[in-house]
Each structure stands twice: as C-alpha cells, then as structure tokens.
Subunit: 319 residues, 4 copies
C-alpha cells in the first residue's frame, strides 16, 4: 500500500510534526509514503517525492511545512480535480492524507468522488475553524505567539497609559481572538460571532479608567471587518489615545508548541490507521481527550460554534 | 461571605492567573477576598491581606505566585492544623481556596476536618500528578519550557554527533517526561512507571545509529533515580559520547502559556462557584473539556495513571 | 544632593535597568533620588516620588518604564519649560537625569537654560538615532525582537514561496531596518538614507529567483514612506505574490536583552558620576567600548550617519 | 583560488552565519569554497564538500554548525597535523578559515607551519576567552540564554524566598558569568579571576536580607570549581534555604542573537579579505567597533583579562 501526504492552504505550526508521525508510523507497518509538494498545485504538476524514516528527522520542531503549500485556483475546477485524481492513480497512490483546513478538505472530498482514492483529512489551521474537532494543529501555537506579542505591547501600554487595539487573525471567525483575549487579559474582545456596540465598548473602557486602570488592551478578530474604524471611533468617543497594531504573519510561523506537536503526532498516527482500516473519506478530530473520526464531507458542511460562555467568562474577568 | 486564597507547595506558572480569576469573579458577586501569604506558614503567622479588583491587575502573565508559597512542617502536626483552623475562623474566613498540589490538598482536608471551614482545591503543579484531573495549572508551561530547552540542546547534539541525556522534573512520576519526550522528538524516554533495561536502551540507540541518525536525545524523569548512572552505563555499553543536562528550576518559572492561563482562569471561577454553592471539601478538575468536581479527600488517595499507550506511540515515532 | 530621574518620549526596553543603576549607584554615595513620573507632563504636575534601593528591585528585566512616560505639548512652550524649572527648584532637585531620545534632550537643554539645574541625558530609544553614541538603550532589544518576528515569518515565506515585505520602526531613520535586515538575512533592505529604485529591487528579486531562491524577505524602514506602495509596485512588476506585515508596537516592548541592560547600567552609573563631577549639560554615550561625555545641546544639533559600508555588506551577503 | 572552511571545538551560535558570510562573499569574487565537515576529524578523513550560494541559504538563524564539529585527539600529534596538511594540499585548498576557539587556533597554527597553507582564525566560542578580540561569535547569545533562564528561576526564587545558585559555563574563565551576573541582576557573582571568601558572600546575603530583599541569586562560573560546596557552605553559615541549578548545555544552542549574527557576518567577510590579501596566519577580531587583524600564534599565547571594573560596578548595583 502506498499513501500520499499533502499540506494545503495556509501553513500552520505542527504540520511538519504531522508529516513526521505519518511517515514514522506507516513505514514500519510496511506502507510506502510519498509527499506531494506545494499543495494541490504540486499534485497537478506531479511533484511527488518519496519519504523515508530519516527524511522526517529533525523537523518536529520546525514551523511551516517542509512539503510546502499553495493555493490552487485550477483545483477548484472539475477539470483540475479530474486531473488530480488521475495523477494519484498513475502514481499508484492508494490513499491520501490531506493536512489543512476546510477549503483543503472540500478539494479532498471532490478528489475522492472522482477518483475513488480514499482520503483522510487532518485538521491543521491556526484559525481553529474546522467543525467536529475541538482543536486544530497550529492553533495553540498561534494563540501563544499572539499572547506573547501582546505581553510585549502591554509594556508600552503601561508606560504610556493608552488604549491599544490589537488585531489577530482568524479569517471570518473569532476562535483565535477569544482565546488570545482571554489569556492575554484583554479588557475588551471583539469577535464577529458576538454583536457589540462601540458605545458599550467605550463605556467599559471609561469604567475601567475610573477604577484606576490606566491602560486597556482590546483584542479584535480580523473577521469583525474594519478594525481601524473601531480605533477612530474610540478616539472620538473617549479622551483616550488609541494605538493600533495588526499582528499579521508572525502568527502563522514559529516552532510549534508542545501541544501542537502532540496533536499533530496523534492525528498523524490515526490518519494512517484510518487508511489501513479501509475508511473512504474521513477526518480525524479530537473531542475532549477522545480521538474521533467523522465523514469528511459532513465536516465541511458544518459550522463550528464559538463558546459564548467562555466569552462571557473572559469579559467577567476583565476590568 | 469572605473567602481566603492560598498558594502552597511548589510554585507553578499560572497560579497568578488563578488568583486573578478568583478575585475578579468573586468581588462583583459581593464576596470579600483575602490572600493568605507564604502558604500554610503564612496562615499560621496570620499573614492575611485583602485583595481587590486592581490588586490582581497585570499579574495574569507573571510566573510564580504573588502570594508567595512555602513548605510548612508545622502544618503537618495536629497542633499546626488546629491553629490554622482557628486563624481562619478568627479572620472570619467562610471558605478557603487552596491552589497547589496533592500535599497541599492533604493539609486542606485536615483543615476542613478540624475547622469545618469549606475548602476547595485548585490543582496547580508542573508535575501533573494530581488524580481526577487530566491537567494541572502550570503543566503545559513546564512542558513547553523543557521542550524549548531541548530544542536548544539539539543544536549542539546535531553539531557534535553525541547522545544527550536530559533530566526533567516530575517528582516520582513520569507525566512531564512523557509529554516532553513525545513532543521534543526524543529517541528514548525513561519514566518510573514503565520498566526499562539499559541493554534495550543501548540497542535502540545503536539501531538508530545504523539507520543514519547521528545523535539521540534521551529524556529521563527525575523519578527514575540516579540518571547519571544511566549516562555512565550507556557510555560503557556503546561507543557513543554521552552528555548529561539536568534542566532544574528553569522548568518551574516563566510566563505561563495561554493554556496554563486559561486552565487557571476557568478553575478559579469554578472554585468560587463551588464555595457559593455550599460545597464543603472538593477539588475542581478537568476531564476532556468538562469541568468536574471531586471530593478532595478522595483525590489525595488516588493514584493517577500514566497513559501507557501514549508512551508506546512516542516510542513508535522515535528513531 | 538630590537628583531627579525622568523617562521621556517613546519607551525603550532597558529604561528600568537605567533607573535601577542610577538609584543603586547614587544612594550609597549619599545622594537622594526622586523619580518624576509620566515624563515632562508629570514634571509639570509635580508627580515626584522618592526612590530607594528596594524600590528598584526586580525591575532590571522589565520592559517599558516604571516611571511611565508621555509626550507633553505644553513643555514645548517657553511657559511650560519655565514652570518645569520652577518645579525642579521648589523640589530642591540639584540635578536631573533625562532618559530618552533627541526630543527629550531638547527639552532638557531648555530646562537647563531657564533653571540652571544641571541635566544629563541618557540616550534611550529603539531607533538608535541619537548622535555621538554608537548605541542607545533599547536598540539591541528591538533589533532582536524584529529579527525573531522575521524568523517566524520566514517559516510561512518558505512554505508558500512568496515575497514578504516587513516594515520596521525607526522614525525617519534606517538604523533599525539596516541592523534587522543584515541579521535576519533579508534579500533587500530599504532605508530612507539610501536611494533605491523599485526596478532595481524587482530585478534583484528576479535574479534571486533564477538562482533557485524561492522566497525573499524585504525589510523596509517606516521612514521610507508608503511601504504598501512598494508592495503593490513589486506585485505589478514581477509575477510574485507579495505579503505585507508591519511589525508595529511589539518592537517597543519585551524584556530587555543583556546588552540593553548592560548599556543601561553603565550609562546610569556614568550619569550619576557626571552630576557628581559638576557637569552642567551633558550626555553619556558609548563609542566603541569607551564611555564618552558630550555637550547635550551639540548632540541635539548633530545628525548621526548611517553606516553605508555595513549596508553594502548586507547587500553583498544577500541573495 | 579555493578556500576551505572548518568549524572546530565547541559549537557556538552564529557559526552558521559566519559560514554563510564566507561563502556569499567569496564566490562572487571568483573563489571556490569547500566545507570541511566534523572539524579536524573530518579533515583527517577527507570529508570535504563544495559550498555554493544556495547551500548556505536559510542557515543564518540556525544554532550549532551545519558543518558539524568534533574534538580530535589525533590532530594533537605531529603525525595528525602532517596528514591534515597533506589533505589540504591534495585537495588544492589555498587557504583555510578556522571558526572556533583558542584550541582550534593552536591546531591551525601548526597546520600552517607544516603545510604553508594560509590560515585565518574566526573567534567563535560562548566562553569569550579569546585574546585580542572584545567579543567572540556566540557569546552574546549564550549570555542572553543564561539571563532568560535566570529570569525564569527568579519567578520561583521570589515565590519561595530562597537563595538560588546558578552555575554558568565559561570553562576556566569568568567572562560569561560576569556578563550574566551583571545583566541578570545577580546579588553575588563568583568568577575564578577574582578571589572571594564565603564568609563575605554570606554577610552580603544577610545584609541584603536585612534591607528587605527576600531572595538572592548567585551566579557562579563553572571555573570556580566545586559549586555545590559553595551551596552547602552558604546553607551552613546562614539560615537560608539554597537551591542549585547548573544551566548546562542549553547555553550552547539556540538561534543566534542579532549581535552574534552580525559579528559572524563581519568576521566572515574580513576572513575572506585576509586570505585574498595574502595573509599567512592571522585572526580577525573586534576592538571597540574596529575590525583588527592579529597574528594567530600570538593570540593563542595571550591571556585575555577580565574587566574587574565592570565586576565592581555589578557588585555596586547589587543588593
């Protein structure tokens, strides 16, 4: 049996640990493993390389993905998917493990439909916006990177007695912003899932100020839209000077945290197990401490819910 | 209602985040909160200070504990416990939250027995050796600190082609070593719960070497006993130069990771809830993603089991 | 003799180490030390607090400034300076140490002119744009923070095969960008002091690409003006996808590096020495490994030159 | 002209940045560059690989050395050196750049003597114990690593109110300990160059304690000998609990700081320049901000002096 591994979409810290786990678990079981480089683009160009035990040495601690990744418009067409399926078959690939997020999984579902090649999704994205799994590979790392950055910004905030607005990633969802806001001790957290009015935000900041809090940090998800409008609005409605920082691409990189590495290792092993057990189209996920298997197509159709109670708790602890 | 907060035993990153959560959650509910300084020693000396919303500002990201901690032999005597109970009562403390590990919880159980004052345990120790909870406050931080340290040591290991033995904390248990070994990509993990023979370890190292792996890192729990004997033994049985590093107290400190801060925040809130709901003697824990409450005395009598499957998985991925 | 310490302008990591050194060196010599809070704003409001040996304990490793800082428009008027001088005198301050950058030094020169109170400048700014000193407090920390951030971004750059443009601080100067670009291994460095044409930049990127370099990182000083125009221009002139990140306020904060702490300690001690020796208006600086004293007014009139040879060297090593 | 590059002795962060600078500077000037792997051991075994512009891509931020290193007893014999010289010649190597410390330079001097092949030393060691240069590659990184580790240990020290003794590397010299002690804010610094009596140390600790300082950190150089005897002695002479941590190999690794990368880049370029200019046997160094060239044999015979004034200053600022 020969399995292919591909990383697709935005890179996430821990992807390499997943590749390592897949290779190290599969080979001693008699499987051959190939890596498909540069995501679906590389698949369409037949960029396929063999992977052995040593080729995944020393990568568990590296950010990014050694297989590289890309976005591939061609793969969104029926012809692209058809071609992808043919290349899988002509390379005798009996099963494909796709490490990526929802968009990558949609492509994998199509690939399975046209080619019949079994596909297993391994959820990896810093946005944590994949349904049916509590956590995705890379999320814990991105949260810690953002929190460390905010710890730095707080030094200046405390020295200057100003309000800082920090925009974090997360695409159209607020998972990253909520977790970062809670653990960085943000005074206000703005996420797309929960409505807010800027008058209320300003009142909150002024209440904090009256209680003796000289500076506040607002964590905003990029998904709320125009964050700089929020900045201007707060400046107009209050007497506070407001500074704005968009954390940007530093959130994507860096050596994965222990937790991202662990999740990647466990997911990788289970993905191989799933292919060995004859699964046709599934995703590995974690719920609590239990590893679960879900139909990959179902996953792409579901919307993950944000934990609103956790949001309330974060706001109760803020001041 | 007036509640006391105490940190006891070894310090763990995230203790401050727990103190913050307790204070910030309790005060708006009308409770008064006092901090008992320097663990049970401070209790016996009546070192009790009021805590308000602002006094826990800017501490969420600090390692250690602002309430300080200690070990207190006197508190292990019936007279000490008796005195502690009297001081709680004379200070009108209606409930006590003890942030610490198993040893601290034993003291809390006794304190509750003699005084009748309700006690709630919040598990916080880098060793993760508290039963009935998957994780303790500080564990995730210590794992990441150790993994980062090993990532550094690997630079030298790879440059020198040597075997490195790294001893991590964990008291008499292997939770920290297992998690660190798995996520640092250690070639061998030695924990007190799982028997090993050094001949087997040496064979494993030689197999790795034959496969082209020039260096190996062995992660050993302090609980296995004399680690430097292991070092000497490997040097004798193989031709490899072996270097030994004991990570020591760096594992205890540092700014808590997001996960340690989150666990601390959630535990802190639930501990207050438990006191409000009239619980007499319980511990807050987490199982999967569910917060659980357990009888505090039961907890101190149970032995937590190490996940042997995870150990096997770590060894399968090593080479 | 009673001396005042003030931090003014943008905060810089290491300011606290300088405050600590001043207090710890001055007090055993029989001097009294007071801290003026919130920069010149706090001076005008008489926010003056005594400092003793213990009050500067545990701050050597903290970013920002425990004395806080501000910008103060009022202090730019003759009336403001006059008032400041009177407050110094009414508080019996016999000498003032100003920790800050060029703007803060201009204020100090005026203050000295109207009041006659001796002033000593201690150069502290992440921008390193103060004449007559090779280095300012905070510069080394900011360089390392930016380099670490770029190391993270490189993970994504390598995974995606794209061009990344990273904007760093530095006000209207390129000191920070040059040092960061050199040590982060940037493919192109853009600084205001050295003219560049975007055609040349694009050619360079294409040459790199032909040599097999899949990704490039461009480090741009904020002082070059509209960086996002550079991004758009490169996208139009080449086939490369370009991503833009502005590092922002994370560069200001964080625990100071050893070098920033050392410079701060040495500068602090020499500033006290200068006041003791009766200097009227001077700045402490470092040239090579020699501590120098310069007339503070002269310093504010000189423009520091960028090391163009170092720039050329950085470009020679890039590819 | 064909030049060889070798890294020898203990690895130091920044060695890779030096290799990169040498290759990137030499090749466009028409030189060929080969890397000799595994130090002098690899030289004797003829492990020589060509290096090109791309082979040094993405290594500027890596700790350790991609050329690997070793200690080589055979090379300390006349026969070994003879053989090394012959291998250089049979490989048409016209000049050799040796990146390492004093021991490696002694070997290089011998190699030059027997073979006539020009050799240039590039000082790289975390110990900073090379004469005629203010700083060696890797020193700044090791200092910062140790200081960060101590910042972590301080969390526990402050929580527990204990004395911590931290042993740092430095072989038989105190350069690392002095710099670390100064910038970590240690209460006491013990180095082999400056005599100390333990009674005085204990008195100092007690004075600190009387002033209200609850915890002290002692930084000790490994060169002082039996540090654990110091620990026991302090415990006996004072009432303080003392904890001991030996930082160990974490000090050797890690991504180089900006300063280590810069020094490596500048040294690498000048080493190539020296070979091009026909130098026979020299070392590149830095004094202040000036790059200097010194006779390599002279360097190995000189003993670098410790800055005792800096030591006194560190002690004056401690309390």
């Amino acid at each position: 049996m020969k399995i292919g591994v591909i990383t697709s979409g935005g890179d996430a810290p821990g992807m390499n640990a997943a590749i390592r786990a897949i290779v190290r678990y599969a080979i001693p079981k008699g499987l051959r493993v190939v890596g498909i480089e540069r995501g679906y683009s590389g698949l369409l160009e037949g960029q396929i390389v063999p992977l052995d035990l040593r080729s995944v040495g020393r990568i568990i601690n590296l950010g990014g993905t050694v297989l590289k990744t890309s976005r591939c418009p061609e793969f969104k067409t029926p012809e692209g998917v058809q071609k992808g399926g043919e290349i899988l078959k002509s390379n005798d690939i009996d099963g494909l493990i796709v490490i990526g997020g929802e968009g990558s999984f949609k492509g994998a579902v199509e690939l399975n439909r046209v080619s019949g090649v079994p596909v297993v999704g391994v959820p990896a994205t810093i946005d944590n916006d994949v349904a049916e799994t509590d956590e995705t590979i890379g999320f814990d790392t991105a949260v810690n990177t953002a929190v460390s950055a905010i710890d730095r910004i707080r030094d200046t905030a405390l020295s200057y007695e100003r309000v800082f607005v920090v925009e974090v990633m997360g695409r159209d969802r607020g998972f990253l912003a909520l977790e970062v806001g809670l653990t960085a001790g943000a005074g206000v957290i703005l996420v797309p899932e929960i409505e807010f009015d800027l008058d209320g935000v300003c009142e909150r900041l002024m209440t904090y100020h009256e209680r003796g809090k000289a500076t506040s940090i607002i964590v905003a998800a990029e998904g709320i839209g125009d964050t700089s409008a929020v900045v201007r609005c707060i400046e107009e409605k209050t007497s506070f000077e407001v500074r704005f920082t968009k954390l940007g691409y530093i959130q994507r990189g860096g050596s994965p945290t222990a937790r991202s590495r662990r999740l990647a290792s466990v997911f990788g092993v289970h993905a191989v197990e799933l292919l060995l057990s004859g699964a046709g189209r599934s995703m590995v996920g974690i719920q609590g401490t239990t590893i679960v298997h879900r139909d990959l197509e179902e996953v792409t159709k579901k919307r993950k819910t944000l934990d609103e109670k956790l949001y309330e708790l974060a706001m109760e602890l803020a001041m």
